[in-house]
Symmetry: D3
Subunit: 295 residues, 6 copies
Amino acid sequence: MINTQNPSMEANSFEDWGSIARILAEALPFLRRYRGQCFVIKYGGHAMDDDATALRFAHDIVLLKQVGIHPVIVHGGGPQIDAFLKKLNIQSNFKNGLRVTDAATMEVVEMVLAGKVNKELVQSISNAGGVAFGLTGKDGNLVQARKYMPGGVDLGFVGEPVKVNTYILKKILEEDGIPVIAPIGVDENGQTLNINADTLAGAIASALQAVRFMLLTDVAGFLDKNGELVPEMTLAETEQAITDGVAKGGMIPKLQTCIAAVRGGVKGAVILNGKDPHSVLLELLTPKGNGTLIS
Amino acid sequence: MINTQNPSMEANSFEDWGSIARILAEALPFLRRYRGQCFVIKYGGHAMDDDATALRFAHDIVLLKQVGIHPVIVHGGGPQIDAFLKKLNIQSNFKNGLRVTDAATMEVVEMVLAGKVNKELVQSISNAGGVAFGLTGKDGNLVQARKYMPGGVDLGFVGEPVKVNTYILKKILEEDGIPVIAPIGVDENGQTLNINADTLAGAIASALQAVRFMLLTDVAGFLDKNGELVPEMTLAETEQAITDGVAKGGMIPKLQTCIAAVRGGVKGAVILNGKDPHSVLLELLTPKGNGTLIS
Amino acid sequence: MINTQNPSMEANSFEDWGSIARILAEALPFLRRYRGQCFVIKYGGHAMDDDATALRFAHDIVLLKQVGIHPVIVHGGGPQIDAFLKKLNIQSNFKNGLRVTDAATMEVVEMVLAGKVNKELVQSISNAGGVAFGLTGKDGNLVQARKYMPGGVDLGFVGEPVKVNTYILKKILEEDGIPVIAPIGVDENGQTLNINADTLAGAIASALQAVRFMLLTDVAGFLDKNGELVPEMTLAETEQAITDGVAKGGMIPKLQTCIAAVRGGVKGAVILNGKDPHSVLLELLTPKGNGTLIS
Amino acid sequence: MINTQNPSMEANSFEDWGSIARILAEALPFLRRYRGQCFVIKYGGHAMDDDATALRFAHDIVLLKQVGIHPVIVHGGGPQIDAFLKKLNIQSNFKNGLRVTDAATMEVVEMVLAGKVNKELVQSISNAGGVAFGLTGKDGNLVQARKYMPGGVDLGFVGEPVKVNTYILKKILEEDGIPVIAPIGVDENGQTLNINADTLAGAIASALQAVRFMLLTDVAGFLDKNGELVPEMTLAETEQAITDGVAKGGMIPKLQTCIAAVRGGVKGAVILNGKDPHSVLLELLTPKGNGTLIS
Amino acid sequence: MINTQNPSMEANSFEDWGSIARILAEALPFLRRYRGQCFVIKYGGHAMDDDATALRFAHDIVLLKQVGIHPVIVHGGGPQIDAFLKKLNIQSNFKNGLRVTDAATMEVVEMVLAGKVNKELVQSISNAGGVAFGLTGKDGNLVQARKYMPGGVDLGFVGEPVKVNTYILKKILEEDGIPVIAPIGVDENGQTLNINADTLAGAIASALQAVRFMLLTDVAGFLDKNGELVPEMTLAETEQAITDGVAKGGMIPKLQTCIAAVRGGVKGAVILNGKDPHSVLLELLTPKGNGTLIS
Amino acid sequence: MINTQNPSMEANSFEDWGSIARILAEALPFLRRYRGQCFVIKYGGHAMDDDATALRFAHDIVLLKQVGIHPVIVHGGGPQIDAFLKKLNIQSNFKNGLRVTDAATMEVVEMVLAGKVNKELVQSISNAGGVAFGLTGKDGNLVQARKYMPGGVDLGFVGEPVKVNTYILKKILEEDGIPVIAPIGVDENGQTLNINADTLAGAIASALQAVRFMLLTDVAGFLDKNGELVPEMTLAETEQAITDGVAKGGMIPKLQTCIAAVRGGVKGAVILNGKDPHSVLLELLTPKGNGTLIS
């Protein structure tokens, strides 16, 4: 494991320091573009399975911080939760094809998200040299939520965000910290609720008036009817894509979350592939990032 | 569940507001005694099993904060960990009668402490009207640890604290927050380690130069050879009690932790029964608190 | 006299610390209600005559501060002034039944208010463990006033407040101080003026946008035509009570002062009996306080 | 009365603005000498009797503040107290020729100092355009005192300062305020005590590590055996003057107070005539001030 | 050269300290008039030629600062530039009678303004006891400019101000510094431009919402058709004077700059003679200053 | 000229954004090494002649700032001064082979350093996206100097630094500014003195307790007797190299300046070639920088 406090020179494979210096110098104007602004990044549970991807992600996040951007991470943890539910032989009930979060499931969801996935991410960023703070919606009353019943269906302890306490996040950012947030909220009765990580990330991005809401997925972005990546879309075009049926399946709620975030004050929402090497950094470096930018 | 933002009047059983006002007024000089100072409180996993005790504890903590004391909570979680290890059929190895924390066990320990016990305490304090922040030693690099091998025995991922980052704790206290800390540390290689909660609480109390380190147990305090509670002991008397064999079993490490905390700058360490109603508040109110004060 | 810095244990007559702890814990939600907000309290000269009442008042004020409320005291001093005028054989002139404040009277009024009553209150709060600052409208240019001629009658050096310098009060509150204000103002020519303490307290409450303006009197509150205490009144109801003649005599200007304070931004004005034990604390503790709340 | 907010041009008798500008410009280096430092000034009750002197004094104090010096005023009030004791027919007891301050006298002393003399000075400085804060030793626990029994003689409620709370004074100075202090202290039992104004001023000067302690009297300074003013004296010379009997009567305690102040950290103590026009300003402007400088 | 840190007493020719003290005391209300507000002063290159005038100016500026006003200096340097162009045999081209600033000229202009005139002024203020900071429009991006082509004529590297970065100026003022600004700006391509010092001073005065913009010239102010000094003019009267042809030659752009400054938020613009002894101080001291006040 | 506020995409010649991202990510641990610490960099007049080198230097400086290091630049200007002295036909006198700085020369030195070289550097950094502040020792009393007479020889207005006012530099660094300092000082009589830029840079590095003092020269570093670059030297080895005569000519004072800087508290002094591309950045990136490190 890397001890970044004392960077080990053996770990370095650079042959030509001079050209690296040149590249850094040339990258400077791009690094300065979003200085002092927030990037809210939804990081999926799937991406964490691949150790190399996870390590790169942590380094990229610390590099963002290093050059003056304020990253805020919201993570999921679906595969990790499924694995533990299985180990514990907890069977899920389904309504209209959607899994119901009962009390036993909620206990596992919270333990895995807050006690395993969150802490792995915090430690991974710490290993990369950053100072991360793991939070759930309970800590510092970060996320007030309410029960969410899509189409009137009661899915148990499932919630949607009502209010995000940005004061705490801003304090952490001021102290050069990187908030890492598990998608758990609390309703007004103190009941713990499971929130969709995409939805919570979008809400936090709006609350922080982030310059970028980056939704890391496992596809390249939004594809048009010819299967080609659409690099940029307006809100109107995004809505059209949903109406016209070009957007399908899981892409629809992702587009809707992006629309809501931009309506809520986010400058641009990006759907991109979290497994692409350095996908987050590319957003910073390249003329228009990668993935699909909705703004 | 109580919604303390709008205190429900029905919840109130007071018959005589006037006498309550009188009692409050008379308690004033005592409430002012430790204003602006830290109480570091070790809260055991056993105490949480009893809902009424847990609720009272949360209220007492918020009341301490309300009258200007800074409580910092370090919690254990032994019974909760045991229950999950059992559910997951994880068998423990033992060396010299001590349980070895292997990788599979460490994963469960962290999930249960950081994802279950910690979040319950945070929410419980939040329900009582406080603003709690759940932390492990990973968050904000709070606790640097190193492998701990008592008597040279390798117990796996077991650690002892090396350094506590009080900056973060002080920032939380300044913002009127209540830190709630799970006894997890990280060594210099980024390895997660399980730390004894008593030991960590004592180290944090020293680091904060706390006025009180309160070690909540399930006994009344230190009992002399006649089985009578000893209300106050000097460091010398405490060491004598260990040497003379009056202190036995689990009381010995507790006394040692108290000695170390006082040597480290804590004004007074108290061993007391966490299940006594309002045991923490009594420390504040009564002439010499309850339990055994070592100073 | 009590030395609250080192609370004397002998002074304590509690038999049951446990039940006191329970009461404190149960009172917690009520103590938190007005945290961080201002209570402006008019404290009358009559109330000070009774040593026990005065002592209780000081303790209650310090307790308010202790639990995070910002009390600001405005005091009168009628009986004390009368006593000194008599000792000095200063006769008063009257116009339309109202006493005229001539130069000789004004000198005594200021000496008694600023040099006797104010200092007694400051010391009394100090004895109770608070940090009080005695002020008149002259100190820090706190109160700009102008001559007040009710119905065109010239009553001499009698004034009404024009502007309150809240900056100074807020600084004192920030420093955990308790302002104790004598009702003396200065006009634009530097002339000292005697201001009605109720009126000044109401003006200060408005200037501070206080959550409560508490007008301590020697009656239980506003009584309806059946002589029953009215616990709560709207502004409209209060005006109606004046118009209908239900309010009589000295109650009329008190109600008018309360109406003006609420119109000026005070959340609620309360008329209550300052001689009731702990009347100020009861406002905090009980569901709707005691006395009559106008809001 | 002058309204300095809008300086009235008629009030100005300057014939030659140009030469005034020149004088100001030439005075600049002198005005800068003590920038940011404290002058503690004992102002006697006698000086206030003369309106012109009082007005000049207030203007000089505000000018000091204007050019960046921090004046702190401690006032006496002997003649004013005597007048009121007489009006109230309060007879004084004497022991060894010293007046005893009994309870009735103490009440008058406090009223006159805190309620009359202090407020006149505050208002006078306010009229001159400054922001003054009247204080006694009670306000903000400014002066802790203890009973003073010179030569073992019990003079009643007479005290000497034990501790000065400079925090409050510094806060007032930071806010561009001018503290005006009446020589009243409180002992540890909350008992009000009358303190000699010279003594208190010296103690405050030491506590503030003032650059100048200016003792305004009604003589030109210390006179040698030929009756000539001594412009400067070392501590040793001052002590010699007392030992040798050159210093006589009331000059002896004044010299002793100056010695104590300089020993306590004051840079220089000056005995000067408060009735000399602009005596305080001259200290600033002239090469070595007027009066006798002890350093 | 004067070392103002230790004012030399020999330098002082005052015969009567007492009358100086009196004058200072009487000047107090005037010194307080503009406390905490900005004076932006255009100081011409001509005025610097006379050592006595330059020395007086520096002392006056420091005195302004001393009494709490914030002076900001913008200087020219025409004669000094001309002298160096001549020494270097750089010939100027002219268009429509206006000198063209080519690259060789621009280099000299910048060197003389930023490297000679600016540094002399900075040092002169420093000698007088002030803390001056020399700036050009390049330092801290102080002045954004654009090419200026009066009547469409291309005069080379001549600019006009587009934006003034007041943040930097305010920081300097907060730190008790005196900004001394050379009239050099930069356009959006990083090209250095020569700006008219009057114009820049007016723009800075507007940006700072200065209470006074003082345009030091070599005439007494604006003269009416009878050649008499006009002490005060409204904006309308000033425009009329231009339209009517009463204002002639170089006075026209000066009046226009004053009009623009007042329109831009400056409280009053003054045209006055920089060679009058203490002309800047007189603005402060006399009822309506000297020169012509446009407001 | 590059407008870095809106980085022009055409300006970018990168073929492979992904590999740039990878390089940045890999460089991260190195970028973090000196975060929050000062680099004081002596930048020679020779290096500025080459436009490409000058542009690279400015970009490297801004990049240092961007990644959290605080660069402070001290520049020379020998060639530029020589060129102007020649243009102005100013002949130099020599003593013991050293040029004497007479009044005419001093005027040119200051104009060229403060008005030309300094402003070019400031603008160059500004073009690269940084916020630079040009200063001489006069601005804000930055550098107190005294006449320097090496071996007793009077070289005219030549000085050495006595005191550096770090307060101002720290304020600029706090505001994210980059100080650019011309080597001009002032003695206690207000006399301008020309200071050797290496010497001043070393003194500033000591005053700031910089982590690196980088002396940019036109050679690769210190060469041993075989003409090989010595990458690292202790203070003892450096002194030995001078004593042994291995160090020759201009290298001797450079080594002495480095020794003095390290003795004064600088962590490491580096002699390196300012014309090597990105020589400053390489110090950050490579395991031991380039040039010779003395520590």
